[in-house]
Symmetry: D2
Subunit: 312 residues, 4 copies
C-alpha cells in the first residue's frame, strides 16, 4: 500500500473498450475512432480492447484482428493498449497474441478457458504454458461469473513467480478476495492489481490497488479518472461525491433491461444516444429497442450526459 | 453519507458474541462473563448474541433463553444488547422475542427462515408480520450463504417503510449490493446499516455505513473499535494500518481448518487459548484438536494476542 | 437389484405427510385424521411425518410433539410411522426422537443440520453421534437444495457400517448419484433406498430402489402405490401410463404459483379443495388465494381428483 | 411414448466422438480412422463430432474443419454425421456450418453461446436467427453445467415451431426436466430427444426418449448399442445387467483423476491404452501421466476392455 515502493507499469483508468459495430461482423470505424478519442480526451491511462465489455467472445477472429489494428493505429502510442486474448483454444489465443505483437500492443489479458471448468493445477499449468509462449507480458483476468473458474490465491502466487505475468484484473466483485490479493503485493513490486467493477473502484484504490477497468469510462471517462485521482490523493470528500455518481450511473443506466446483458446494452445504447458510436451488438444480444432507448435517453439527460455537441 | 444528518441509534462495533460452552447444552458461565467483560473493556458499542458466530441455530431453546438472561444481567445496560431470533418457526421466533423483551434486550435481529428458499413477496410479507408482532425494534440480517435468500433492494425499501424495522446487517460480502443499500439511506434517517464481514469494515464505514458486526471483536475488540474510529475520523493512514491487521487475522487465524467452519473454530479456539472461555462447539462441529490447536497458538503468538495475564 | 436377495424392512410408498393446520400453531385435528385415513385407504406402505412436505422446520416443537402423538394414535400400528427429527440443534433433535420413541414410532429420518454448510468429515462424525444416541433406527435424508450439504458416496458408505442407520431417502433429483447409491446396495442387504421426487419414482424402482416418498400420495395415494407395484412387477406399459399421470400432476398442480413454494402450496390447496384438510401454512408461506385456488380446482377437475364424496 | 407414432430421423446411439490428437493442433489421422471404424463396427447409429467429449472449444478452427472433412470422408455415408457448431461467435458458427454442409454432414448441434449468461428471450431469438441462417437441420444441445444457460421448457416449445430444429440432446442430467421434455413430444412427431449422460440412457429410453449420445461408446460401442436395443425391446432383465455395466465403467474409468476433466481424460487414456488412438489433449488439460495411466490400464483389464487384437 506504499505507492512509493511500487514500480508498476500500469495504473489508473484503463477502460474495457466497447466494440462499435455497424452490423454483424462489421466495425463502425468512425464510431471506433470517436470512441477512442473521447476516452483519451477524458484522460484515461490506457485502453483494454477485446474484454467482456468489448463482447470479445462474440466477435469473429477476422474482426478481432481488424479491431486490434485500427485501435493501435488510432491510439498511436498515446496510452498503452491491452488486448484480451482469452480463448477456449490455445491456438487461437496465440494467433491473436501474434497479431497484437505485430501491431505494437503493450500487454495482453487472459482469463481461464471458459467452456470447461478448470481445476487449479490445470489452471496453473495453463498459465505456465502461456508464460512460455506469449510474445508479450500479460495480465490474469479473474472473471468467475463468466469463466466458472476462479484464480485461487495459491494459483495467483504461483503466477507471480513468472516474470511476464505482470498483474491481475479482478472482476470477481468479491472484496474479501480482493483484499487477500492486496496482501500478496509485497511479493512482487511490479505487479499491477486492477479492479473490474466500477462500483468498487473507490475502495480498491483507497485500500491498495492500482486502478480500474471501468466500463463506464467508455461513456464518461473523466468521472472515473477523477475518482481514481481523488482516491490516490486520499481526498475522501471528493471520493464520496464521485463514488455516489458512479453508483447512480450503475443503478440507473445499467438497469434498464431485465437480463444479465443490461450492463452492456445500457452502456452501448448510451454511447449511441450520445452520438459516439453505433450500438449494434453481437448475438445473442441485440441493441435496445424502444421503449428501452427512451429510458436510456431520459437517464442520460438526468445524468447530464446527453452531450449535444457530440451529436451535432 | 452525511453523518450529521443521520439519527441512527446504533453505531460502531457490535460483536456477534461467540457462545461459550462447557459441554452440549451447558454454558461456560464464567467464560461468558469473562468474554463480555473483555469486549466491554475493549470499547465495543453493543453486543449481538445468538447470531451465526454465536452458533445460535445449534443451541437448544433452553440454552438460548439462559444466554439471553445471563448476558443482559452481565451487561447491565452498559451497552445495547441485540438478540438474534432468526428461526424457521415463527412461533419459536416470537417466543425468543418475548424472553428478550422480558430481559431488557434493546433490539432483535432477524434473517429469513432458512430451510425453504423464500421468494421476495413471501419475504416481504414475513417481515410485515414480524413488524406487527415483535415486541422490540429489529434489524434485518442479510446472510444469503446460509439462508439461501437475499433481501432484494425493493424488499429492503419496503421494510424501510415499517417504523420498527430499524436497520440491516449485511453479511452478503457483496460490496456492489452494499453500496446500493447505502444509496437507500436518505429514505430513512434513523436506519442503521452494519457490515458483517470484518474484512469489509474499513470501506463500509468510509463509504457510508454505521459500523460492523465483527466476529474478531470477540478476541481483540479494541482493534475493530479503533478501525471504526479511524474510518469515522477519515484517518486513512491509520485505517490502512488497522485494516491490514484485520486482514492478517482473517488470513491466518480463520484459515487453520479446511472446512467452512474454520472461521468459528479458529475464533473459539483462539478465545480458549487466550484463556477467555471454553471452546466446546455445537454439533456437527467440534473444537480443534491438535495439531490445529498448536497452529492457532502459534498464530496468536505471531499476532501478539496470547495474553498471559488473562491465562494466569 | 435382486429383490429376493434383499431383506429391507421398508418398501413401497411412504408419503411425506402434509401437516394439516387450522391456524398458526394449531393442528386441524379432524383434517389430520381424514388425511391419514385417506392415505391408508389408498394402500400406502408407511407414513413419514415432519418432512419437508410436512413443513416441519416451520412448526413449533409443541406442535411437532402433538403431531407425532396424534399420528401414532390414529395409525395405530397399521403401517410403520417414520418421523423427521432433522434439526440444527442436536438437543432438539434428540428431544423429538424421545417423543417419537415414547409414541411407538418405527424409525426416524435425519437430514444434515441445515444452517451451516457441513463438510463430509463433520457430517460423518455427526451421523456417528446420532447413531450412538438416537433411540430408534434412522434413515439418512439427502436434500441438498434445502440443507446445502450432500451426502458424498464415501459418507454414505461409512454410514452403512452403522447398524441402526437403515437406509436413505434421496431427494437430490440427481439420478447419476442415485444409480451410484444403488451400486452400494450389495454392501448392506437390509439397507432401504427410497426416492424423493415422485417424478423419478418409476425409474428408481425399475433400476434398483425400494420405493418412494411421494408428496402427491397425500392426494392420490393409490396412483403412486399402483405405479410402485407396476414397477416391481416390471409391467412397463402400465408404468408408462401411470408415470405419465404423475408427470401430468407435477406439471399442472405443482406449478400454479410462481415461487419455490408452489409444490407445497399446490398440494395443500388441492387437499383443501378435495375436502380432506385445511391448507393453512407456516410462515413465510401462505395458502393460495384466488385466483390460484380457482386454477387448482380447475386442474383437479381435469385430473378427475375433485371427489364430491369427500366434500359432502 | 408410442414409438410407432413417431417419425424421427435419428435414433439409437450417436457417440460424441473423442478427437484423436497427436500434438497441439495436429490430428492423429490413423487414430481417427481406427476410432471411426471401431465405433461403426460396434453398430452405432450415427456420429457426433465436435461436441464436449470432442473437446471442440479447445480446437483451432483449422483443425475443426479438417476433422469435419476427414470424418465425413471416412464415414462415407454409412451412418449420419452430426457436427457441433456451438460458438460464442455467430460468424464462426456459420462458418463451420458451411464447411459441414460442403462435406455432406447430416445435421448440426448447437448449445447456447457460452461466455455470457443468456436470458430465455435472448436464447429464443438466437435460435430463430440460427434457424433462418443455418444450411442444415440442427439439434439443440442443453448443457447448462458448461454453458450456464438452460433451455426453459417454453423456449424448447418455441424452438419446436421451427421446422429445421429437429431435436434436442439433453445433457442437464436433470431427469425431472427430461420427463417434461418427453411430455412435449406429442407436439412434434419428428422431434428427436437424445440423452447426454450415459448413466441415464436406460431410463431415458424406457420412458420415452430416442437414444443417447454416450461418451463411453467411443470405447465400447456395442455395450451402449445393446443397452439401447434392450430398452427399446423392453427387456428389463437385460437392461438392468447392461446398465450395471455402464455404471461400473462410469464409477471406475471416469473417476481416476480428481478434477472435472476426469471423464474426458479417463476416456481418452482408455482409447490410447486400447490401441485405438492417441490421447493428447487440448489445453488446459493434459493426458494422464503415470500413475493414473496404470490405474486406467488396471480398470480396463477388470472390465475386459484391454483388447489385445487392437493393440497388435
Amino acid at each position: 500500500m506504499n505507492f512509493a515502493a511500487s514500480s508498476v507499469q500500469y495504473r489508473g483508468i484503463i477502460p474495457p473498450m466497447a466494440t462499435p459495430l455497424r452490423a454483424r461482423d462489421e466495425l463502425d470505424v468512425p464510431g471506433l475512432e470517436r470512441l477512442i478519442e473521447h476516452m483519451l480526451a477524458g484522460g484515461v491511462h490506457g485502453l483494454f480492447v477485446l474484454g467482456t465489455t468489448g463482447e470479445a467472445p462474440g466477435l469473429s477472429y477476422r474482426l478481432r484482428r481488424e479491431l486490434i489494428e485500427r485501435t493501435c493505429r488510432q491510439v498511436a502510442g498515446r496510452v498503452p493498449v491491452l488486448v484480451g486474448v482469452t480463448d477456449t483454444s490455445m491456438v487461437e489465443a496465440l494467433g491473436l497474441a501474434r497479431v497484437s505483437q505485430e501491431n505494437g500492443v503493450n500487454a495482453l489479458v487472459v482469463a481461464p478457458p471458459y467452456y470447461f471448468p478448470n481445476s487449479q493445477p490445470e489452471l496453473t499449468e495453463y498459465i505456465q504454458h502461456l508464460a512460455a509462449e506469449l510474445p508479450l507480458p500479460f495480465f490474469l483476468y479473474n472473471m468467475p461469473s463468466h469463466t466458472k473458474t476462479v484464480f485461487d490465491l495459491e494459483t495467483v502466487r504461483r503466477a507471480m513467480a513468472l516474470p511476464n505475468v505482470i498483474g491481475m484484473k479482478d472482476s470477481s466483485a468479491n472484496m474479501v478476495y480482493y483484499h487477500q490479493l492486496v496482501r500478496l503485493l509485497p511479493e512482487r513490486r511490479d505487479w499491477t492489481l486492477l479492479m473490474g467493477p466500477e462500483e468498487l473502484l473507490a475502495e480498491s484504490v483507497l485500500l491498495g490497488g492500482h486502478g480500474g477497468v471501468c466500463g463506464g469510462a467508455n461513456l464518461c471517462p473523466q468521472l472515473y479518472v477523477e475518482l481514481y485521482e481523488a482516491a490516490v490523493a486520499r481526498d475522501l470528500a471528493r471520493v464520496a461525491e464521485l463514488h455516489a455518481r458512479v453508483m447512480h450511473i450503475s443503478s440507473t443506466l445499467y438497469r434498464v433491461g431485465r437480463h444479465g446483458s443490461a450492463f452492456i446494452k445500457g452502456l452501448k445504447c448510451a454511447l449511441s444516444e450520445s452520438g459516439i458510436c453505433d450500438d449494434f451488438m453481437t448475438e445473442p444480444f441485440h441493441r435496445f429497442r424502444e421503449p428501452e432507448r427512451a429510458q436510456v435517453r431520459e437517464r442520460l439527460a438526468e445524468l447530464g450526459l446527453l452531450r449535444e455537441a457530440v451529436r451535432a
